[in-house]
């Protein structure tokens, strides 16, 4: 067990080194969500329940987490092509640690991005409820670990074929975002869309993030958010570790 912990720490700290050294890369990676924020926010109608930004920002935060973590397999794919993945497979590092260490690392850039978004919108019509934001960050961390692990599994399954990784990642990305109600509310949508939305674990993560960012603590919504994120994390780690064990 302690071998697993040591190995995981080794893998995670290696993955984090480029993040500490080039923090600007973390900012560039969130250009897309920031553009959405800049373009959509002025278009949002005033809402009865409060400022539109208050509703929209948590969605953008969840979107940033999903995008960042789902791109991360590309880094592994690069290492598969260069030979450094192979080098690690021959080292005594355990296969599960090679996956888990990488997935855990996803939390760090995600938290940096959440901090940036919150800092950017707080001067505008967005009320900062710090305790809620911190708990939401925990839920999103769990979610990022799961999505990151799935992205690594996809990279391993693609065996270094870029096109396969990007086609699948892009095909899944926007339907996931839209049915989770990130950009537009899903309420009042056709029945089939509502069903898809209910089956999408990200829906619950987004709902919980919205509630917590607003400073509200509805127990059922928060717990469902935690459960949704935990399901993604568990699924990601199981699938990811399996893929890593098969890797050669």
């Amino acid at each position: 067990m302690s071998t697993f912990v040591n190995d995981t720490v080794n893998v995670m700290s290696r993955e984090l080194k480029p993040v500490w050294r080039e923090p600007m890369a973390v900012v560039f990676a969130m250009i897309q969500p920031l553009v959405f924020l800049g373009l959509f926010a002025p278009l949002l109608p005033e809402m009865a329940t409060g400022s539109a930004l208050q509703w929209f920002v948590p969605g953008i935060v969840a979107m940033t987490a999903l995008m960042g973590a789902s791109f991360t397999g590309a880094n592994l794919m690069e290492e598969m092509q260069s030979g450094s993945h192979e080098r690690q497979l021959v080292s005594p590092l355990g296969r599960p640690a090679l996956l888990v260490g990488r997935a855990l690392k996803e939390v760090v850039p995600m938290l940096m991005q959440v901090a940036i978004i919150v800092a950017v919108v707080t001067p505008f019509s967005f009320d900062l409820h710090l305790p809620g934001v911190l708990v939401a960050a925990l839920v999103l961390s769990l979610f990022s670990i799961g999505v990151g692990a799935l992205s690594f599994a996809l990279a391993l399954a693609s065996k270094g074929q870029d096109w396969m990784f990007w086609t699948i990642q892009q095909t899944l990305l926007f339907p996931t975002l839209l049915t989770a109600g990130v950009l537009l509310p899903v309420d009042g949508a056709p029945r089939w869309l509502e069903v898809v939305s209910m089956l999408n674990p990200m829906t619950y993560v987004v709902d919980a993030t919205r509630a917590l960012f607003a400073g509200a603590w509805p127990a059922d919504v928060v717990l469902q958010g935690v459960a949704g994120a935990a399901v993604v994390a568990a699924l990601g780690l199981v699938v990811g570790v399996r893929a890593m064990r098969r890797s050669s």
Binding site: D7, R14, P18, V90, P92
Partner: protein
């Protein structure tokens, strides 16, 4: 530090076989390899592109399981004892072991940590290797900014971090300039002498196999076709002395005279004569004087050491060119590379 804990051979393979199936075609990359390598041996696998060198190393380093047969490294089975094998070995693959987004020194330290070194020991060892491989100027740069040869040296350093009992190097000298090739040879020999490690490497060059390894295993189409010392392989072949003349008549006269050289093979092509003879480089002075005295002074002289191509011709009766054209060979695209490497 010496490795005294294990007795018995460092590597044993029995009927080691690996097939690949892609696009409904089966490639028999390694076929029934029976091999025994003792502790502390320095062995080179010599063979053309696609011969199965990397596949053999990938099986011995636990990266891929054999299709059939068995192999053990440092006393552990490569399938059932993967973890123990990995702890005992170092592997420098054909690609780049260091991540391109990382700093060279960080990669060395993290590799040391992966092998159970303490933080301080890993740092210390990294510093030693940076010096040994002349990486001082580049070790603290991002790996992607290193030149091909610098990256290769970093890869080699990574394989040596934990002073492995068995070290595998897949074409270690690829991309190194002549000076660094010599440095690498010295480094490997020093490691071998100091730690008693067993070293297995692959190469396309008979010269390199000779300079580095006591024992050379020649492979072709997944099979071992020779297992001997480089010196014996070379002396069996002899050097090639190529003499050019002004005319075909002169060449024919010279050939007649040269055919009296003991144990030599003489071939005439138009105005040039090829003489294949042991120790040709030392004999050539006398031969030239002889021919001049006979009134047929050569206008051009070349002496060449035997190459992989010559070994092949000798062992299989066909040259690498013919090998590459045979219909059973899948690696068509590699043929151009083989020829230029062999010519080099």
């Amino acid at each position: 530090m010496t490795h005294t804990t294990q007795t018995g051979p460092a590597i044993v393979t029995r009927g080691l076989t690996r097939h690949f199936t892609s696009h409904k075609q089966t490639v028999e990359a390694v076929q029934g390899l029976d091999l025994e390598i003792g502790q502390g041996e320095l062995v080179a696998f010599l063979g053309p592109n696609g011969a199965g060198k990397s596949t053999t190393l990938r099986m011995l380093t636990t990266l891929i399981p054999p299709t059939s047969g068995t192999a053990s490294v440092a006393g552990h089975d490569v399938v059932s004892g993967q973890r123990d094998v990995r702890r005992a070995i170092g592997f420098v693959g054909q690609g780049n072991g260091a991540g391109h987004r990382q700093l060279g020194r960080d990669e060395l330290i993290s590799q040391g940590r992966a092998h159970g070194l303490s933080r301080a020991d890993a740092r210390h060892r990294a510093a030693e290797l940076v010096e040994d491989l002349d990486l001082d100027a580049v070790a603290d740069r991002k790996v992607s900014t290193l030149s091909g040869g610098q990256r290769r040296r970093l890869d080699i350093a990574m394989g040596l971090v934990h002073l492995p009992r068995v070290l595998f190097l897949d074409e270690p000298s690829t991309g190194l300039d002549p000076q660094n090739r010599i440095n690498l040879q010295e480094l490997i020999q020093r490691l071998h002498a100091e730690s008693g490690s067993t070293v297995v490497l692959t190469t396309h060059y008979l010269e390199e196999a000779d300079a580095l390894a006591g024992r050379v295993i020649v492979v072709d189409h997944g099979r071992m076709i020779a297992d001997d010392t480089a010196a014996r392989l070379k002396s069996r072949l002899g050097d090639l002395v190529r003499l050019g003349f002004d005319s075909a008549t002169e060449a024919a006269r010279a050939a007649a005279r040269l055919s009296r050289v003991p144990d030599a093979r003489v071939d005439v092509t138009v105005a040039s004569v090829d003489l294949r003879v042991k120790d040709g480089s030392t004999l050539v002075g006398g031969l030239l004087a002889d021919l001049a005295a006979d009134g047929v002074p050569p206008t051009r002289v070349e002496v060449a050491r035997p190459t992989l191509d010559d070994v092949f011709l000798d062992l299989t009766g066909r040259s690498l060119r013919e090998t590459q054209q045979s219909p059973t060979d899948e690696a068509d695209t590699d043929s151009a590379r083989t020829e230029s490497e062999v010519a080099a």
